[in-house]
């Protein structure tokens, strides 16, 4: 090959002089010489010189293009020459008069400079004017290339901002989009402080929300997400307002008017894509509604206007909701007037959204109501009218979302159900979807019923639900109990009506096997607990009847009281129906209920908004909670319901993998986040299923980080092992991996462990594991960094598909707690240099004696000790072990006081990789199963 060098060089040089046709063959030979690692240095140098000379001689653009490409190849494959290449290209760049070629050489220069930091300063010598002149040339492709790569060049932010802002007006949509993206990127760096300029940028972004081009509008909507945490407070406010206006434009048909750019009319070759009326891709509308839901600052008038198609006569009051007014004043009422949203733009936005043809849009509209109803009770009241209608939607998802929004309103005490709503709402109690029914009941628990008629119809609805779907019995009984407690007076009236049904018939037969009677009895026995009903007029014999259904009732009320308590309560009431609330019937639950009545009702978004709300509003929101005892509110969630939701989540996670493969990471992360939020609400609701919840949390984390979890059945363990394998492969596929030997070792070990499990449990091995095993040898051979490995790994990853995770049985959450009573106030005494014993109170959950646990004690990175925890010496069973352990810490340093961080870790049995070898610790990797505890030690003073 190399012997042809001379001819190759000649060929290249001849390009400049000879005919215009490019000698592609010579170029190809030159390139193969360059990228071949065995080509001798002298050849490369010769080539480099030829090319450099050629660069000076020729003016033919195509030839120059190829030359630049070859030079950049040289720079990347032969780093010793990169400096020389850099300078020769740079000198070319300075005299080039073609925009396109200048851009190309600039691209070469910047990528060389990015690899070789020492050349970066040479880049800095090029001034702003030079860079900017590139995008002012007529070449549109160079312009958009430059704008999207502008951050790679040393340009002053102000210049860049001006250029970006200017190009948002470009006739080419792609340039507009890139420029807008650039502006967003620039706003992140927060170098621009001039309010006027920022304001101009935002105005422009909002204008672009009405752009004729979909991609530009999308970029504008997404710009919104980028603004969080970037803008100074008042700008955030401003941004919200302007964006609100823009979003409403998208949501509302016919409201935005991008004027066709004037250049379209003179026949410039611009693509004309007209968006269709009413047929925006729903993705735009969905994004706009999602964004609407996030807007924290908006005036009540506008909100109300979004619910009415008629333009309302609106008062002058413009105080936005949801932000702290004191803070606002301090910033001097910054908002310029022209940002006030026009009422006619807002008119009926939600009406249209909830009526949209695409269920995604309707769902999203319901969802954004969710957060907005926190802001204003009046708005919530109006929105409820619409939401009640949505209960008749033909998409289950949308109906469910509407109910969830109502539930949310109820928790914020913004749910004001009226008589007219009752038919539709109670209809959901006999819906054939379990989710709908259970969500409806959840709302009913919190709902305040103003008159007897509504109360009666609610009870009728629940009884109908019970008749049609007997499987809901437990939940219905518990709901009845709650409603009864909240509306004691009504219960008394109702029970009088129903007493015939409850009382034994004239033949002396009690109809106690009917669920209906059970339901009425539960309702009756709840009355004495009502605050409104101090002297209860429920006949005491009813409580005796209830005793006959003790098992059934106590099963339903297991979250509120256990059987013994119930019995005690019933027998008490059958003697006297006056219940003193101070007399506790709920000894079992008291004490370990977190005070969570307010936590579950406010989402993170709400939290921040609530902080800003006026104090009055705050109090109002919290006060009504007092009437319903926190006890009940915490216990409302029934185990089965949570379990269903969790199953649902696990089911959904399954679908995510497809998205991961497609590369929609933002979407995946968003979904996982929403699952987590959902789980978090259960967390505060329920104590029963804490283990399951903890597991699911962990699982989510696994999917998100592809991390580790233990304590599972064989199938489950295999599932997780598979995920770990994927992690290993991912780790291997990264080029900059440094410890692939260890990873490979781990990989083969896990595979063998998986195989073992397969054999033991006679489970069909997963396709991915089989594939991986086959390729293991191949991976090994390539482990010295050769080039074809990525393809192999990529193929392997493609063969992986996330399987449906089935939760068989209930998983055990392995965890530990460490406590050291009194240490917070009084440090443990120690003498420097001598060992000290730390009396730790350790509680272990679900740890079997086979597990090897280690206590890790750290003062700092260099001072770390491990102590083995011998479980055989501790008492208790596998589920819960509680014992005190005197942990010895030997190497006490010379210090007056020190803080020791103590933590319990468990050895991973199948990860036999020696990671920690010194200080006599564990030989395998540890999984830490408890919160780190800080222990304070103080030197004994000599006095």
């Amino acid at each position: 090959m190399e012997q042809h060098l001379g001819s190759v060089c000649e060929c290249i040089l001849s390009l400049s002089t000879n005919d215009k046709r490019l000698n592609l063959r010579a170029l190809a030979s030159a390139r193969s010489l360059i990228i071949n690692s065995s080509t001798s240095d002298s050849t490369i140098s010769a080539l480099f010189e030829t090319l450099t000379r050629f660069l000076q001689l020729t003016t033919e653009p195509r030839a120059l293009h190829h030359t630049l490409k070859l030079l950049s190849d040289i720079a990347f494959h032969h780093s010793r020459l990169s400096g020389l290449v850099f300078h020769s290209v740079r000198s070319y760049l300075l005299r080039s008069d073609s925009t396109r070629l200048s851009a190309e050489s600039l691209a070469v220069l910047s990528s060389i400079a990015e690899h070789d930091r020492s050349l970066a300063s040479a880049m800095d010598e090029l001034d702003d004017r030079f860079f900017v002149s590139l995008c002012f040339g007529p070449s549109v492709s160079v312009r958009s290339w430059f704008l999207s790569n502008a951050f790679r060049f040393p340009i002053r932010p102000y210049v860049l901002l001006t250029v970006m802002l200017g190009f948002t007006k470009d006739p080419y949509p792609y340039v507009r989009r890139v420029a807008l993206d650039g502006l967003v990127g620039l706003s992140k760096s927060s170098v621009i402080e001039d309010c006027g300029v920022i304001e101009g940028c935002y105005c422009r972004a909002v204008e672009l929300l009405g752009d004729a081009e979909d991609s530009v509008r999308c970029a504008a909507v997404h710009a919104w997400d980028a603004r969080e945490g970037v803008l100074p407070y008042h700008m955030g406010d401003l941004w919200s307002r302007t964006l609100l206006m823009g979003f409403l434009c998208i949501v509302n048909p016919g409201k935005h008017h991008p004027q066709p750019h004037i250049s379209l009319m003179v026949g410039l070759p611009l693509p004309v894509i007209l968006s269709q009326y009413g047929c925006h891709p729903p993705i735009m509308k969905v994004a706009a509604f999602d964004a609407l839901g996030k807007i924290g600052v908006v005036s009540e008038d506008i909100l109300l206007q979004t619910l009415s198609k008629r333009v309302l006569g609106i008062t002058k009051e413009k105080k936005p909701l949801g932000q702290c007014s004191a803070k606002r004043k301090s910033l001097g009422q910054y908002i310029p007037k022209h940002f006030d949203i026009q009422a006619c733009v807002a008119a009926g936005a939600f009406v249209h959204g909830l009526e949209d043809e695409f269920y995604e849009v309707r769902w999203s509209a319901c969802h954004s109501l969710h957060t907005l109803t926190i802001l204003s009770a009046k708005f919530a009241g109006e929105a409820l009218n619409l939401l009640m209608d949505v209960l008749n939607d033909d998409s289950l998802n949308v109906r469910l979302r509407a109910l969830e929004t109502m539930h949310h309103m109820a928790t914020c005490d913004h749910l004001k159900v009226q008589e007219t709503h009752m038919h539709m709402f109670l209809g959901t109690l006999v819906d054939n979807s379990t989710f709908i029914r259970s969500t409806a009941r959840k709302i009913l628990r919190l709902m305040k019923l103003h008159d007897l008629k509504m109360f009666q119809s609610s009870i009728d609805g629940l009884l109908e639900n019970l008749e049609v779907y007997p499987q809901d019995e437990a939940d219905i009984l518990s709901v009845l109990f709650d409603i009864g407690r909240n509306h004691g007076n009504f219960v008394v009236c109702i029970i009088k009506k129903f007493s015939q049904e409850i009382e034994p018939s004239c033949e002396g037969r009690l109809d106690f096997d009917s669920v209906r009677v059970a339901a009425l009895l539960v309702l009756a026995i709840s009355a004495p607990l009502s605050e409104a009903q101090k002297v209860c007029s429920i006949p005491s014999r009813i409580f005796s009847y209830a005793v006959t259904l003790l098992g059934r009732i106590s099963h339903a009320l297991k979250d509120v009281m256990n059987q013994n308590t119930l019995l005690a309560y019933l027998s008490h009431c059958s003697k006297s129906t006056i219940v003193d609330n101070s007399e506790s019937f709920f000894p079992m639950i008291e004490g370990d209920i977190p005070n969570c009545s307010c936590i579950d009702m406010i989402s993170p978004a709400g939290m921040s908004l609530q902080q800003g709300a006026s104090e009055n509003e705050n109090q109002k929101r919290l006060e009504p909670r007092k009437s319903a005892t926190p006890l009940l509110d915490c216990q409302l969630e029934v185990y089965s319901e949570v379990a269903k939701s969790i199953k649902l989540i696990l089911l959904k996670i399954n679908d995510i993998w497809f998205l991961v493969q497609k590369g929609c990471m933002a979407e995946v992360l968003r979904m996982l986040r929403s699952f987590r939020e959902e789980l978090a609400t259960y967390m505060s609701d329920s104590l029963v299923s804490a283990d399951t919840l903890a597991f699911t949390f962990q699982y989510l984390r696994v999917v998100k980080l592809l991390a580790k979890v233990q304590g599972l059945s064989k199938e489950e363990e295999l599932h997780v092992l598979e995920l770990i394998l994927v992690t290993c492969i991912l780790r291997l596929s990264k080029v900059e991996i440094c410890c692939h030997n260890a990873t490979l070792k781990k990989l083969s070990m896990i595979i063998s462990h998986a195989e073992f499990l397969h054999k033991e449990g006679s489970i069909e091995p997963y396709n991915f594991v089989v594939e991986l095993k086959k390729s293991l040898g191949e991976i090994d051979t390539y482990n010295d960094g050769a080039s074809c490995r990525p393809f192999l790994l990529k193929r392997l990853l493609e063969s992986f598909s996330l399987k449906q995770f089935r939760l068989s049985g209930s998983p055990k959450h392995i965890k530990a707690e460490i406590d050291l009573p009194g240490n917070d106030t009084e440090p443990l005494p120690f003498i420097s240099g001598l060992p000290v014993g730390i009396p730790l109170e350790i509680t272990l959950y679900n740890v079997s004696s086979e597990n090897r646990l280690w206590l890790r004690m750290i003062v700092h990175e260099q001072l770390m000790e491990f102590v083995f925890l011998d479980l055989n010496q501790s008492g208790g069973c596998d589920e819960v072990r509680k014992f005190t352990f005197m942990a010895p810490f030997y190497r006490t340093p010379k210090a007056m006081s020190l803080t020791l961080r103590v933590c319990i870790g468990m050895e991973c049995l199948f990860e036999d990789v020696n990671l920690i070898t010194d200080c006599g610790g564990p030989t395998r990797e540890l999984v830490y199963i408890c919160q780190e505890k800080e222990v304070y030690l103080g030197m004994i003073s000599k006095t």
């Binding site: 007529p138 016919g254 409201k255 008017h257 009413g278 008629r310 249209h352 695409f358 619409l386 979807s433």
Partner: protein, 649 residues
């Protein structure tokens, strides 16, 4: 060129839609409907206005039918078979399929039941339909070499379409009836953003803004559910097409959700046939129906059975859809007679009922007895529920569409006169679009667009491609009608990039018009560049300078001698500099501000000197010249100079 719109029907009324539009010489008839309220000649449009000679084939280039309702298609067989039009007729596929059903049904009712003389026969309908050319949505049809039409989805009923028509550069849209919100089985109207000269839109609800239809659906379901739950029978008299399917989807879904087992019946006949068409024409329905289509055809009603006459008196609850609507006779009347006396039963009337029908009597007031004819009287004890589901868009929808399309002119048809007047006002004031609502047989003439094609020069294109943005602080006025009317000026940084504004349009004799860059102009027309210079010889008072100052100025005939010119100029410079700041420069022989050039005038008679009236005061003359760009500044300086007195220091 102009567009002429002759409204033959639905002008200031609802009924017999028919508009004949002439665009650039091409004549299109949009819709050919009949008026259901008349039985005389007013029933059909007055076709004689189209052509006195009754030669319709040459008078009209094509007919476009928007949908199958009789007030839009009813007169078509008459026009083609009786009047003899044989040119092309365009309608969508579903309209072509369903129109004969409607026409035949109407003909039967008219001839068989009422014994009227038939206006067209079944044969006529069939022959007429053979002439119809079916079109698809968004399919551009070239009617002839100049005329293009295109259909857009309109909602309203299955197969309803808006039609776009274009001849040369003039373009228009005729909407027919349309709906801007989706319903249970149809989607919302969809149209592209088009450049239009004229939009002819229906205006049934010209002033009504309707709330969400969901609330009315809720009421309907509540009433029906309550009735059947109490063991009653529900009669829903309805037209066979559209409403029946919509309500049925609604009920079927509800039944499904609520696990209701009460039977829903469809009276046999037209409805069954119509359902079959609906099942086939899924692609014309809304997104929801289309989405579920793969698993379940929404028109395969799970709970619907066909009705048998013997079931009328069967015990137990049921829901029955029966034709015709408005209980004007036929099967629905038969059932009504039997069910009306029981208070357990319910009659639901979906929509508008013509005066004189039983439906109308039921909805106005609460009659306890209805006289069917002289002998028969029905006692009405059942519950009556009226539903107003209208597949027409509301006022907001019309405004939205007009705003979206932003045509140059709007003509309102298919509405009530006073309401149309109010909508016209709104369109003109809010949107600034000229609007008309002609009465029947009136003609509206509007100018049409004519585009002139122009070449462009390369330099011009290049200059257009080069970015040319400016940042301007504009003072914008707060026009928000949300807040108070007081306006407050605020400045906003705005970006401008109007690249093509600097071209020059040249139209040379017998040549195509051309847009060129301003630099090219002179070269193109082969002329030299001429600069227009303004000049004015301005007198400046010098008072009695030698007396007051005792300086040695030689004055003769009030004119300054050469030797003093520099001193005068210098003096002027000093004076102007204090007024104008640093802009002014002294070049010794002249002063200069931008292009304004000031020098002492030594001529006795200067052509730029205005010599009206004798010079009262002694003055020095300064000749000022300037170019166009500085006109304002120049006059400002001159007015300063004229009021100066160089003697006062």
């Amino acid at each position: 060129m102009a567009i002429e719109c002759l409204v033959l029907g639905a002008g200031q009324e609802v009924g017999k839609s028919c508009a004949v539009v002439t665009i650039n010489g091409k004549r299109i008839m949009f819709d050919c409907g009949m008026h259901m309220g008349y039985l005389d000649h007013r029933r059909f449009p007055d076709f004689s206005l189209i052509s006195k000679s009754a030669d319709f084939n040459t008078a009209i280039d094509c007919i476009v039918i928007t949908h199958f309702h009789l007030d839009h298609v009813g007169a078509l067989p008459y026009f083609t078979e009786v009047c003899g039009y044989s040119g092309p007729i365009y309608m969508t596929y579903p309209t072509k399929a369903l129109s004969p059903l409607m026409l035949e049904d109407y003909r039967k009712v008219m001839v068989d039941r009422r014994g009227e003389q038939e206006l067209f026969s079944n044969d006529d309908i069939m022959k007429c339909m053979k002439k119809v050319i079916a079109v698809d949505l968004k399919q551009t049809v070239q009617v002839d070499k100049d005329l293009q039409i295109r259909a857009y989805y309109a909602g309203h009923v299955l197969g309803a379409a808006m039609f776009y028509a274009k001849v040369g550069d003039a373009a228009m849209v005729y909407t027919g009836d349309y709906n801007m919100t989706p319903d249970r089985h149809l989607g919302a109207a969809q149209i592209d953003r088009l450049q239009l000269d004229l939009l002819i839109t229906e205006s049934t609800y010209a002033t009504t803004v309707r709330d969400s239809k969901y609330a009315r659906e809720r009421e309907f379901l509540k009433a029906v559910h309550k009735c059947v739950a109490d063991g009653g029978k529900v009669l829903i008299p309805t037209f066979a097409l559209g409403r029946a399917q919509e309500l049925c989807i609604l009920l079927d879904n509800y039944w499904e959700r609520m696990n209701l087992k009460v039977p829903i019946y469809f009276s046999a006949g037209l409805t069954i046939q119509a359902n079959m068409y609906y099942k086939m024409l899924i692609s014309w329905t809304n997104q929801r129906v289309k989405e579920t289509y793969a698993t379940h055809n929404a028109f395969d009603f799970k709970n619907v059975r066909s009705f048998d006459r013997s079931l009328i008196n069967a015990p137990g609850p049921c829901v029955l859809f029966a034709t015709p609507g408005m209980i004007s006779g036929g099967f629905s009347l038969e059932v009504f007679k039997l069910w009306a006396p029981s208070e357990m039963n319910l009659v639901t009337l979906p929509g508008y009922c013509l005066a004189g029908t039983i439906g109308h009597k039921l909805t106005t007031g609460k009659p306890t007895k209805i006289d069917l004819d002289k002998d028969i009287q029905i006692s009405v004890r059942c519950q009556i529920h009226q539903l107003s589901f209208s597949p027409h868009t509301d006022a907001k929808g019309i405004m939205d569409l007009v705003k979206f399309l932003s045509p140059k002119h709007v003509i309102l048809v298919h509405g009530e006169k006073p309401k149309m007047a109010s909508l016209k006002g709104k369109i003109e004031s809010d949107l600034g679009i000229q609007c008309y609502y002609p009465a029947n047989n009136d003609t509206v003439c509007i100018p049409s667009t004519c585009w002139l094609k122009a070449d462009t020069s390369k330099t011009f294109i290049r200059s257009s491609l080069n970015p040319n943005f400016k940042f301007v602080k504009t003072i914008s006025e707060d026009k928000s009608n949300l807040v108070s009317k007081e306006t407050e000026a605020t400045s906003v940084l705005q970006v401008h990039d109007e690249r093509v504004a600097e071209g020059i349009l040249i139209v040379e004799k017998s040549k195509k018009a051309k847009v060129v860059h301003q630099n090219e102009l002179l070269l193109m027309i082969g002329k030299d560049k001429h600069d227009v210079q303004f000049a004015y010889c301005c007198p400046v008072q010098i008072g009695n300078l030698e007396r007051t100052k005792g300086m040695d100025f030689a004055l003769s005939k009030n004119v300054v001698s050469t030797s003093d010119e520099c001193s005068w100029l210098h003096l002027l410079f000093a004076k102007l500099a204090t007024k104008l700041g640093g802009n002014i420069q002294d070049f010794g022989q002249h002063l200069q501000v931008d292009s304004i050039h000031i020098s002492v005038c030594l001529k006795d008679i200067c052509p730029y000197r205005t010599t009206d009236g004798p010079q009262k005061e002694p003055a020095v003359f300064f000749c000022c010249t300037w170019s166009v760009a500085d006109v304002n500044l120049a006059w400002e300086i001159i007015s300063i100079m004229e009021n100066l007195d160089l003697s006062i220091i």
